[in-house]
Symmetry: C2
Amino acid sequence: MITNMPDNQITLYIIKALKESKRKEFDAILDELQPYDVARIYGELPEKHKKRFLLYLNIDMLADLIEELSKTEQLDVLNRLGIERSGEVLDEMDNDDLASLLDDLSPEKITQLLSGMKKEESKAVQDIMNYPPETAGRLMTNRFVWIRDYYTVKEAVTKLKSFTDYAETINYLYVIDQYRKLVGVVSYRDILMAEADAVVRNIMYERVISVSVDTDQEEVAMLIQRYDFMAIPAVNEENVLMGIITVDDIIDVVIQEANEDIEKLSASGKSIDFETRAYVAAYRRLPWLILLLLIGILSGSIISTYQETLKEIVALAFFIPMISGMTGNTGTQSLAVVVRGLVSNDINKRVITKLVLRELGVGVIIGITCGILISLIAFIWQGNLMIGLVVGMSLLLTLIIGTLAGTVIPLILYRLQIDPAIASGPLITTLNDIFSLLTYFGIATLFLHHIQ
Amino acid sequence: MITNMPDNQITLYIIKALKESKRKEFDAILDELQPYDVARIYGELPEKHKKRFLLYLNIDMLADLIEELSKTEQLDVLNRLGIERSGEVLDEMDNDDLASLLDDLSPEKITQLLSGMKKEESKAVQDIMNYPPETAGRLMTNRFVWIRDYYTVKEAVTKLKSFTDYAETINYLYVIDQYRKLVGVVSYRDILMAEADAVVRNIMYERVISVSVDTDQEEVAMLIQRYDFMAIPAVNEENVLMGIITVDDIIDVVIQEANEDIEKLSASGKSIDFETRAYVAAYRRLPWLILLLLIGILSGSIISTYQETLKEIVALAFFIPMISGMTGNTGTQSLAVVVRGLVSNDINKRVITKLVLRELGVGVIIGITCGILISLIAFIWQGNLMIGLVVGMSLLLTLIIGTLAGTVIPLILYRLQIDPAIASGPLITTLNDIFSLLTYFGIATLFLHHIQ
């Protein structure tokens, strides 16, 4: 009925069904909707219809709905449901989603929410919450089908059928032995092709790619991307299968990690999005701005030590923004290449040497090009050959050093296990600023003395 | 056998099998490996073993291997295979991967490669290549199972079994009517649960979320992410099912788009990675650097118009790097928030108004904080209240304007359908540089006159 209906008309239809208490029509519409759409419609509903809307949804749908909402909305919905029904909904939610819902809540609130849940489900969630943030353990779900290695294909199919709900996400089955250790994987396809009485152990792949529960989420994402998997199993140190991580969570990780890299590279402060309040956003950005301010003062004090030179030739001041701007920019260009390259490359000595030499080459090429160009412009503009030469030579040098700094510093930090994106920005800016001004005024002063 | 073997030992094992022509052992090892690993091992093989390695692989494995290689390697392998075998391999490859392999080749080379292929396969690839780059049409594959709406569940299962190869990637079946129009979708789970003689039309979901073949890949990614799909169908303007796009391709899109945003924001030049040669990288970065150089000259000429002021108070020069650096940085901070926000938010008037007001708030807060701070520092350092006030007031103003420029300009460009990331960087830098220097020297000159 609603197949080709535009979104806002569906909402109107639902409101009508709610107003007239037409449960059947309501169910028929909801049956065709995706969780994301249900959440969108819930958000658009007038306040007075929300209660009945939640009442009409079954537990499965409520769990789906809640997984799509923001944290505040989630808590609001759970409150409206009452302790008993919210317990059932929480039982039904994916563990990883529930864990991130509970993440920043007060201990009392957590206890209250968990109290309505089944024992085993609440334990499973608490287990997940014990893993550090941004690890495989935090992303994994226990909603998946595992089979024993001694099952026959027929037994595997029977198990699959009785867990169809879980079986929807991916299409392979992980195989465990009597100690719950991960020993293999079979695809639905293998199951379809095999004889009914074949033993799983004999048809499974034994070389399972898995991650440890404390593997960093960025590495999990890299593996899933590399192997084009729909899911990857997570094991503990004894190779016991603890859960699986599905590709839909990994897409979110990839976006989150890219955003984090951008935030750090642009020093825009951690996790500022469209919803963040002004004072929070300002508070998050200020540390970096104040640091920049102090760096600015440092640059200023370098200039001040050369004020005699500057007094003699005021024209030197005209080129300050250009030189520091360009040095800073080459540094950032190299930094961005390195930071993003680290996402998808295996790093070894050969790769590093090649990269550093390449960037040195880049620095020399752009240094010579821009150096010659600015020499000519400065000479024509100021009618003074010496100024042209000073500016050009300074730019040549600072561009080479800027490029190298932008390459080498993040690589060193990476080796020291410090996130290159966050640490390099300020470091490179500072060093490049200081270095470019010292070079520029140093060369200028030298040449002035030479002339005199 | 190789289940728990480290990677380099597997390579040695394979070399041994190749040396001793032990085909069976070779097959046993290969059977347990993922395509990514096969490609890695192929890359590590000494030249003399590559020929036999390729000879030992069957067509399926060769297709898998090629899909993991870089373009140059792909062409090299195809060359080694000879026209007939390479034709078979190309038949077996995913259409979208093949299309991107052929993308930049000469027409003669394309004809040569396609000539070895089956007619229908080579036509399918040529069809895909007719879609513009970065659209759904380019990403989609025709390797999937569709069923007719009048099939029974039993017929659907039979079809599924005869196409197990295709059935591995996802776990829903798209349903088409007699005109090949997309009319529904059923999950494997629905099929498992239903009676064997139930008709697909009656158990399918009718509200299929699909994309058009010319939908931008970024939008496809947003839909897949939003709905947590494993795949999404692509249709033409008559709603005829043309192909499906799977989540593993979408992860690559997400990474590619994030990298593009970062490249643009850091102006690091398009597609420079660890493999790019120095002169190519320099060539790609130079346009932006030369633009920056000209902007720098413009800034310099602004300073030069105020050289009388500067001569009187040389100390004003000390604060030039700080003011232009900080204004530029606040602009970039806002820009990054907007550019990444556009990836995952629906944009409307309400959102925009809220965002602009928020950033105005941020600008005021950081402006006041940093303004007061620098006033004090400048006063203490220079022992001159007037300089402190001039610098502080300038910074207050430029930070507010910098923040607003970084927010409003990308939004305007987005409205004009220009990519905000690429166009805003240079624009914001220029405007902020010019504006900050004008403000700074303007205020300074004004106050100087006032004193005199």
